[in-house]
């Protein structure tokens, strides 16, 4: 089943600035997809249309078979959860617990269920010890996990992560890998925007590339990261290991250390 389908979708901000121009793609339920590409390409704008935070100027968006234009943002948000690029745009409660519980309470869920959901989302996002902390007393990197937990607690079918990797250290990246893996195991659809090429390669196979308001690539990572014209258009670079393979004139399509080692063994 198709979770998300975009057909000839365009978007313009007020004052008419076109940020997304005629894009089409679809994402299957249960799929893991990364979106990458140059700053200002329209990635955030695109994913915000998936749950009605922004509405297209033209084109059709379908969410699990339903025409999104006929659904309210609140209804769409029960199926599609968006984790903001800037945690400051999302967080407004005084404690981590209340922040994660906010939407659940809003939906008038009963108390024990709220508690169960908050605790399990917090555990998944390594926040069990911070439930009574004010989110703004947490470092920026950890605050991102609070916003992820809020969306996880909603038990949505599609989880969209907008640059979760920004500012994360080694452990933070490892935790995010685990979260994405768990969501995938649970059958969720995961869409992640990231500028960290190693992270993208480590966690995703299908990659959508955006540049200058359009989708300029949608393929397996092994194709994407050896398509130099595409990489250049989208302000991307090959991962370092691929650059090394290229300079040593090894086989094409090496994208990580494992590939490199096995090619080197031959």
């Amino acid at each position: 089943m198709e979770a998300i389908k975009f057909e000839h979708v365009s978007f313009a901000y007020e004052h008419g600035f076109v940020a997304v121009d005629d894009i089409s793609f679809n994402i299957q339920s249960g799929e893991k997809v990364a979106i990458i590409g140059q700053n200002g390409a329209g990635k955030t704008t695109t994913v915000k249309m998936m749950n009605g935070l922004l509405r297209p100027k033209s084109g059709e968006i379908t969410v699990f078979g339903d025409d999104a234009s006929k659904k309210t943002t609140a209804t769409l948000s029960k199926k599609v959860g968006y984790v903001f690029q800037n945690p400051g745009d999302q967080i407004f409660n005084q404690t981590v617990y209340n922040e994660i519980a906010y939407s659940l309470k809003y939906l008038k869920m009963d108390k024990t269920e709220v508690e169960r959901r908050v605790n399990s989302a917090a555990a998944m996002c390594y926040l069990s010890d911070e439930l009574q902390t004010n989110p703004y007393d947490l470092p920026f990197s950890i605050r991102k996990f609070v916003t992820i937990a809020s969306v996880v607690a909603m038990n949505v079918d599609v989880v969209i992560l907008d640059e979760p990797t920004a500012g994360q250290d080694l452990l933070g990246l490892l935790h995010q890998k685990e979260i994405i893996e768990q969501l995938h195991q649970m059958g969720k659809t995961v869409v992640t925007i990231s500028h960290d090429m190693e992270f993208v390669i480590d966690n995703f196979d299908r990659i959508i590339v955006m540049a200058d308001k359009k989708i300029v690539g949608d393929a397996n990572k092994r194709e994407i990261f050896w398509d130099f014209e595409l990489l250049d258009k989208a302000a991307l670079k090959q991962p370092v290991v691929s650059q090394l393979a290229k300079r040593l004139e090894l086989k094409r399509n090496i994208i990580n250390i494992v590939d490199f080692v096995s090619e080197y063994e031959k």
């Binding site: 500012g167 933070g172 991307l236 370092v240 090394l244």
Partner: protein, 286 residues
């Protein structure tokens, strides 16, 4: 003489149970490019605040030790004076917008305006900065209506345009696309050529290894290593401080472990890796 020197600095935030940094000492020479690395929450941003003289005045707490700027104790200088010497770029690009300017051009010009710089000079410097950071196309956009990476470039431009002697830059590339990250490191290289002193907090160790002169590693309140980028990043112990190693170093360690290749030194830059691996693919492992 050192531009910036820390002597045995220890600090504890007011309400915290424990000290956050202990016995921090180092000195930085004019024109040096020093990277500060360590896991999240280790105190890198706190150390930046200390070097900017904001601690213990603005962020309250208890500090001992001394910070010297060109040999003078910064405790005796005003924040305004310090700000003329030290430019600072915030870790979180979403907070560094003045909120009073309507266009990116005016936003970048704001600091110079406040200093009373001549308009023609302002225009020249802002233009140069917009070009350098590849944001010319954003000049007429509203500073609050930018994408994440665009905001981060504008934040950096607003500080660099002031042309301070020392730059403290806290994770300036976290929201940038790969080419944007390269542009920032190239910009820092140009600043270094002009004898600016640069202190950079950065998680992207592949880039740090390519560009920085020196790396200071902080772990568990202390400086645990302070050496050349090449020495720091060829040491697998760094992984235990919560920092990654450059991809080429990780690869070399893996090849070494498998007994495929011997390295006289673990490479930390792409050029080094190419040099050490070139022509060895066919006899590796023997």
């Amino acid at each position: 003489m050192a531009v910036l020197e820390l002597k045995d600095v220890t600090f504890k935030y007011q309400l915290a149970k424990e000290t956050i940094l202990e016995n921090i000492s180092f000195s930085i020479e004019k024109g040096e490019f020093v990277a500060l690395v360590g896991r999240n929450g280790v105190g890198k941003t706190t150390l930046c605040s200390i070097m900017r003289g904001l601690i213990p005045t603005f962020h309250t707490g208890t500090m001992s030790g001394q910070v010297l700027l060109n040999g003078l104790d910064i405790g005796e200088m005003s924040i305004g004076d310090l700000a003329l010497h030290i430019g600072f770029v915030f870790q979180n690009p979403f907070v560094q917008v003045s909120g009073v300017k309507q266009t990116v051009f005016e936003e970048v010009a704001y600091g110079l305006e406040n200093l009373g710089v001549k308009r023609s000079e302002i225009i020249r410097r802002v233009e140069e900065m917009l070009h350098q950071l590849n944001i010319e196309h954003l000049r007429s956009k509203h500073p609050m209506q930018l994408s994440g990476g665009q905001s981060q470039r504008v934040a950096l431009a607003s500080v660099l345009v002031m042309d301070p002697e020392i730059l403290i830059i806290d994770e300036p590339t976290s929201q940038l696309d790969p080419q944007g990250t390269e542009e920032v490191f190239e910009t820092i290289r140009l600043l270094k050529e002009r004898k600016k002193t640069i202190i950079l907090v950065e998680h992207k160790v592949d880039w740090v290894a390519e560009y920085a002169d020196r790396v200071i590693v902080i772990d568990d309140k202390h400086i645990v290593k302070d050496a050349s980028a090449s020495e720091v990043f060829s040491d697998p112990m760094i992984l235990e401080t919560g920092n990654n190693l450059p991809q080429v170093a990780l690869l070399a360690l893996r090849l070494l472990e498998l007994g495929k290749v011997d390295f006289n030194k673990i490479p930390t830059t792409l050029d080094e890796a190419v040099e050490q691996l070139k022509g060895r693919a066919d006899n590796g492992g023997n």
